[in-house]
Homo-oligomer: 336 residues x 2
DNA sequence: ACATTTGACACAATCGATTGAAGTAATCTT
DNA sequence: AAGATTACTTCAATCGATTGTGTCAAATGT
């Protein structure tokens, strides 16, 4: 047979399309024998009701859009695992989109999602402080959104974040306790939400311990690996910090590379702590002290919040903001 | 306005739905002014033609299903990047599914895809040597499939793999050149395709250099991290190999952990080479020698093959098997 | 024995967009 | 000026499944 539809199936079995449909959708309004006969035949011929036809009727896609800046990153990969875990239990699937931290890509994909391709969206935003009205359009369409980790403060949706301020404070304080006097703060974009909050923790920890804040020690890096390498190299040569607090895993890697090449001894000459959810951080040279976010749990929570909204569709669902705790793992890179 | 459709839009603008549709689909058969008027209005009101309605008509979903064993793994994450790159250029999106190497999950998802949710499938299979007839059903539905890295030999689809045999041979030979006499082979499931081929390279390299193959040195591990840790610990304690060739990145990490804990000096007491696409392999302690697969390029190729098939739909497209080259990076873990 | 409920299924409208064919007005031919 | 083009635009069937309403017979109630 070329192409089976519910209609051809109905003809074949001598029953109506409605009965077939009900067989697939577990209606009670159908005889068990009839249902079995239908399902058996369908299985044998490998038939499933067309997804797009069902969707058109029901306006449910059973699909979640997940938008992240990058995939080659244990934090996001683990978060996606968490999201998928929950989605799978609900019979949902994941439409994945990577923004590369490019604002325009984010906008373009979010706008695309207006067509109903996904029932809900979970995203970690690119973070640009631009006009976020494209996000508001989703609310009009009743497509719930949950932000995780990187959020837009001005958009009223549910959020899952970590205690970035406290964790940064603790990490910085830890470096101070190990004797660091000149701690550099590495950040990719100090103006976006997450960079700002983490920096505040750093700044306040310095102040608490009577260390003057030095703007030269705030190192604003880029998305480009090579540029970062040379920025950091220059910093280590010229500014000579004795501690590094990196708000982003990637910058810690770059720092390790530079130190390798310049023969800077960690932790003796330089101590490092970085935000990172890298599972093999203990295997690095030296083992990297990390502020580790509960990535997987964040994914779970984010998905759970989204389904909360999805299942109460139509009703006004109060936004929630869940804050999970990061954990500081002190390893050799900071003298641990 | 509650809900905009092409119909309500038509009424609003005083034109027919067909004209609207043509405005969106870049038909030449429409006046430029009319089109602009439509598109402007649509943009202002944030309207896009419903995805499911279009799909139902066209039987095109502009979606690619990507099935991988895991996501927290630089190899797969990079491959997904490559796939997404190509897909994006074609205006396609990615439906992501993770099997955790569980055969049943793979079967269940592949069967689900029979409903037309995706136009094509790119997958790295779980590898179980079971009945693969569920794959054949896709062919009937004209849904093209491309395997990458891990393939089923008995399924006739396009494939993208690497020169696993040669790379394994070279890696093993390298260990022999550094003086290893007792090289263990770490594998997760030695009966699946990829484990077998890589092992053959290992075996033949041993033979070429007159080293007797010892079955005790083939270490069949599991999916569970803790179990692997104890298996490997036992091996290092009892069998005392002087070299490790790991066919899977994860097992190399486990080995490094064990060595750390047991104070086994690498590369002096034990040399290691592993298949791995980890970008920070040079930053490990010690820097890990790797057989690195061109993950990103594999994703690109796989997606390209899929689009080849997609664009010639209906016609018989000859299967292709592209073999890319892995590269051996000799680092300190093997004395480099 | 007659009324009522229930079970099992069929009918047909509907979801929102696409598209071949047909229609209409304006422009061009000769 | 009649016919032929050209350039838009509309009409209406169609994609495949879902579901409220309706039907009919059997089961149950009194």
């Amino acid at each position: 047979m070329d192409h089976i539809t519910i209609k051809t199936l109905a003809k074949k079995l001598g029953i109506s399309t409605s009965t077939i449909s009900r067989a697939f959708n577990g209606s009670t309004d159908i005889n068990k024998d009839t249902r079995d006969r239908i399902l058996d035949y369908a299985k044998k011929h490998n038939f499933l009701p067309n997804h797009y036809a069902s969707n058109l009727r029901d306006k449910k896609s059973k699909t979640l859009a997940v938008i992240v800046p990058e995939i080659v990153n244990d934090f996001f990969a683990q978060a996606i695992n968490g999201i998928e875990e929950v989605a799978r239990k609900k019979g949902f699937y994941i439409l994945l989109y990577r923004t590369d931290d490019v604002f325009e890509k984010e906008v373009s994909f979010v706008n695309y999602l207006n067509n109903g391709k996904a029932d809900g969206i979970i995203m970690s935003v690119s973070g640009e402080a631009n006009d976020h009205n494209y996000m508001r359009a989703l609310a009009q369409k009743n497509i719930p959104v949950v932000f995780f980790d990187r959020v837009y403060e001005d958009i009223d949706v549910s959020k899952v974040t970590t205690n970035d301020y406290e964790a940064s404070f603790e990490a910085t304080e830890h470096l101070i306790h190990t004797g660091c006097k000149r701690i550099a703060y590495l950040v990719v974009n100090k103006s976006i939400s997450i960079g700002k909050v983490r920096m505040q923790g750093y700044v306040d920890a310095l102040e608490k311990h009577g260390i003057a804040f030095d703007d030269d020690l705030v190192i604003d890096c880029s998305q480009d690996e090579k540029i970062n390498y040379s920025i950091i190299k220059q910093v280590l040569e010229d500014i000579k910090p004795d501690g590094i607090f990196s708000s982003v895993e990637r910058l810690a890697f770059a720092t390790l590379s530079v130190c390798n090449d310049m023969n800077i001894a960690i932790p003796n000459d330089l101590k490092i702590v970085s935000f990172s959810s890298l599972q093999i951080a203990p295997l690095l040279n030296p083992p990297l002290s990390t502020v580790t976010q509960p990535a997987y749990e964040m994914g779970i929570k984010a998905a759970t919040l989204l389904f909360d909204a999805l299942e109460k569709k139509g009703q006004v669902v109060p936004r929630k903001h869940i804050v999970l705790k990061s954990k500081l793992f002190i390893r050799k890179s900071s003298g641990g």
